[in-house]
Amino acid sequence: MMEALIAFLTVFTQPELLLLVGLGTFAGVYVGAIPGLSVTMAVSILISFTFAWDVYPAISLMIGIYMGGVYGGSRTAILLNIPGAPSAIATALDGYPMAKRGEAGTAIGVTTVMSFLGGFLGIGVLALAAPMVSDFALKFQPRDYMLLAILGILLVGSLSSGSLLKGIFAGALGIAVGAVGRDPLTFTKRFTFDLQIMEGGISFIAVMIGMFGVSEALLQLHHVGQPAIRQKISRIVPSLATVKKHLPLSLQTSSIGVIIGALPGTGGDIAALMAYDHAKRVTKDPEREFGDGAMEGLVAPETANNAAVGGAFIPMMTLGIPGDAVTAIMIGALFIHGLNPGPMLMIDKPDMFWFIVGALVMANIFMLIFGLTGIKLFTKIVEMPRAVLIPLIMLLSIVGAYAVNNSINDVYWMLGFGFFGYFMRHYGYPLGPVILGVILSRLLDENWRRAIISEREDLGRFFEGIVTSPLSLVLFIAVILIFVSQTPLWGWAKARVLGEQKVAPK
């Protein structure tokens, strides 16, 4: 126990490590804020860069970047309506309307404090219950991942303001876009039209940057002459009452974050979207409508995506299995530094586990500090005249799209989806469901096929599997309930059963 404590405190007692975590977090916030510059990329560059270092400093820097980067994505989401990272897509839905009203300071403040809270809960679960959670995560069978993906697709309802039909169309389009390229299981070409550039598929980051960045810039061209909104930044740190009010919700959404983060194959992006949907469902009367700048719409995704960081480390530390793309690279880094990541790591080198927990705690604290300072400077971005801002958004979008794979094709895709997204917005089609579809396309497709192949392509056996496994059954019932609750049938049944004559206006 004593050794665990010493290992945990390593990072706090060595100024060099402290500095590296701080530096990493600072860099992470800015890397995260720029669309296209991803944490995954930054960490993989760091592997080569820190090759000759000792393992502790190298890991400290990576953890800092990871924590800061997940948070940083919210900055541009709030200020410009361009999520800096996929896990900040949901943040833009309510963050940007707040910035449009001149409340960017408040939005960033709440986001920072809530990210900090979510981050801590994730780390707490990692420190106290890692083996338990990883055993649970391992229990997920292909059919459970499939049900999870269906659950995710039902979020289309939450993400489409306005017409549900248009939302469904957008979601279906996203799923089709996600299926383009060589099928990852059999390498058969799908939707490639025998074109070389289609074979590698369409980078979903490029779609995201185009849909949010370029289409936003084009939309802003409509009001190029209008003066920018003045931001009031009187109160950045949210009051204790505000934090208290959202505490129950943030605990729920953090739990969603930890579990989704711990599942191999799903990460902060899906966690944040699911948390947003959860918030929309449980919040009875928000001060403002969701999509119009509801505080809950910021709290939910931001707690969840930072809680997913701790979650992602759970299978990595206990089993050597990555919880997401970043932890996959960190496993490689541990290996290069002469450690053997796997189920034995916790037993052979428990100090490594406690060191990582310590570094995460420190990174989380730094994130709070860097998050709450420098907001004035950041909000200046939105106060810039549009004639400067719009070219800047275009530039960032192009650089970001190119940087994903160093490929000019991604830039073309990005621009194409940008123009397309502009017209979609123009005709009232929501963009969120498109991204949701692209993210979930592979999860759904692969796991449905795995599940049905595992049952010898026998639907009877497949459903038998669902009803006999408690986990699958719970997910299946959740899917049915959520689906039914989104149909008119629900209101009708409710009225019949409860005897209410009036169906609440939606």
């Binding site: 995954t40 960490v43 993989s44 592997i47 080569s48 090759f51 000759a52 391992l138 229990k139 997920f140 069978q141 292909p142 390229g181 060589r182 990852p184 299981l185 059999t186 390498f187 074979e199 590698g200 598929g201 191999p264 194959g265 299978p315 089993l319 050597g320 299995i321 990555p322 996959a328 690279i329 960190m330 496993i331 490689g332 290996f335 290069i336 002469g338 053997n340 990541p341 796997g342 189920p343 034995m344 790591l345 037993i347 794979n405 160093n406 692969e446 096929r449 795995r450 192949i453 595992s454 010898r456």
Partner: protein, 334 residues
């Protein structure tokens, strides 16, 4: 003015001199890694290259270029100048692109700089599998036809080759092949019970085996492995495997064909020395990889032999899109 001209002339001479290999490298070398960050190809390349840089006295900037099972990276390097400044860092599977219909280029467009290391395949089962070794698995399949779930990673991957080998030696097995993105996700599924057995490279499974989370059923080699001396070798169950073994995936560094011979030699020497670095040797040993470090004709011969054996094995198992004959790949022994 005179000085300027003199300077320009000397700069020109120096510039021309740069093309001579004795000065190589005069600028940064690009290393294109065919697979994603954190994978085995990535970790091998990132851990060996710093040692090679020291010998070369230059910098190798490594970059992951993923997509289309590595074909995007391969095509990129094949299309770049053959000057030794763009290296392809890849694994074995491009040798099967043509016959699998995944692309029209393979390592035939390249010169091997160094074949760094090779892996040993192992057949592992989940901890709850009702059998403990290869023979037990065979009995189980006979008793329960069509019930055993075996992990796969798509055509041309290691599991497909091992499965083809088993089918050739033992006759067609009645099992369910469940496809995964790679051996990492498949081994995760194995531990969660979604699949029962999985052919994988020893390096990916060794930590799971050490922790008792997976059972090694058989090592696919002709001699026991030093890392797992107690695990039985597959030839002890059926001598028929001797025709195909030893076989294994490998990692190598390549340059486009036509690279100046002295540049290739210098690179080959650098990587040849790098693999002998004690740190790298220990790293490879921990993961159960066999270090090779061969270059030049030796590497070429290794590649041809590997391609012949594997291509025809897959073809005879009916897994290929096009016959190896079409691409001039001769049957082994012909």
């Amino acid at each position: 003015m005179k000085h300027l001209i003199l300077g320009a002339v000397s700069a020109l001479v120096l510039g021309a001199g740069a093309a001579i290999a004795s000065d190589y490298p005069t600028k940064e070398i690009q290393g294109i890694i065919q697979w994603g960050a954190g994978g085995s190809t990535d970790t091998v390349m990132r851990s060996v290259t710093p040692h090679a840089e020291k010998v070369l006295g230059g910098t190798v900037v490594m970059q992951n270029m993923t997509g289309a099972v590595g074909a995007i990276a391969l095509n990129h390097v094949a299309g770049s100048a053959a000057d030794g400044y763009t290296l392809l860092m890849g694994a074995e599977n491009p040798m099967l692109y043509k016959i699998m219909g995944l692309g029209d280029k393979d390592y035939g467009e390249f010169e091997p700089i160094s074949i760094l290391a090779r892996g040993t395949p192992v057949l592992v089962a989940g901890p709850d599998a009702p059998f403990d070794d290869y023979a037990g698995m065979m009995d189980y399949i006979k008793a329960n036809p069509g019930e055993l779930r075996m992990g796969a990673t798509g055509p041309g991957g290691l599991p497909s080759v091992i499965t083809a080998m088993i089918n050739t030696v033992e006759g067609e097995l009645d099992v369910i092949a469940v496809p995964y993105d790679g051996d990492g996700p498949a081994l995760t599924a194995l531990q969660g019970g979604a699949i029962d057995v999985m052919p994988a490279v020893l390096g990916a499974a060794i930590e799971g085996i050490r922790a008792g989370k997976m059972k090694p059923l058989a090592i696919f080699d002709v001699a026991p492995n030093a890392k797992l001396p107690d695990a039985p070798i597959v030839t002890s169950f059926n001598a028929g495997y001797e025709t195909f073994l030893p076989w294994g995936p490998f990692f190598g560094v390549f340059t486009p064909k036509g690279t100046p011979a002295d540049v290739s030699a210098k690179l080959g020497d650098a990587y040849g020395q790098a693999v002998q670095n004690p740190e790298f040797l220990e790293l490879m040993d921990n993961r159960g990889f066999t270090v090779m470090g061969i270059s030049g004709d030796e590497a070429q011969a290794f590649l041809s032999k590997w391609q012949q054996g594997t291509a025809w094995l897959l073809h005879d198992a009916g897994l290929t899109k096009t016959s190896p004959e079409e691409f001039g790949i001769a049957r082994p022994g012909e």
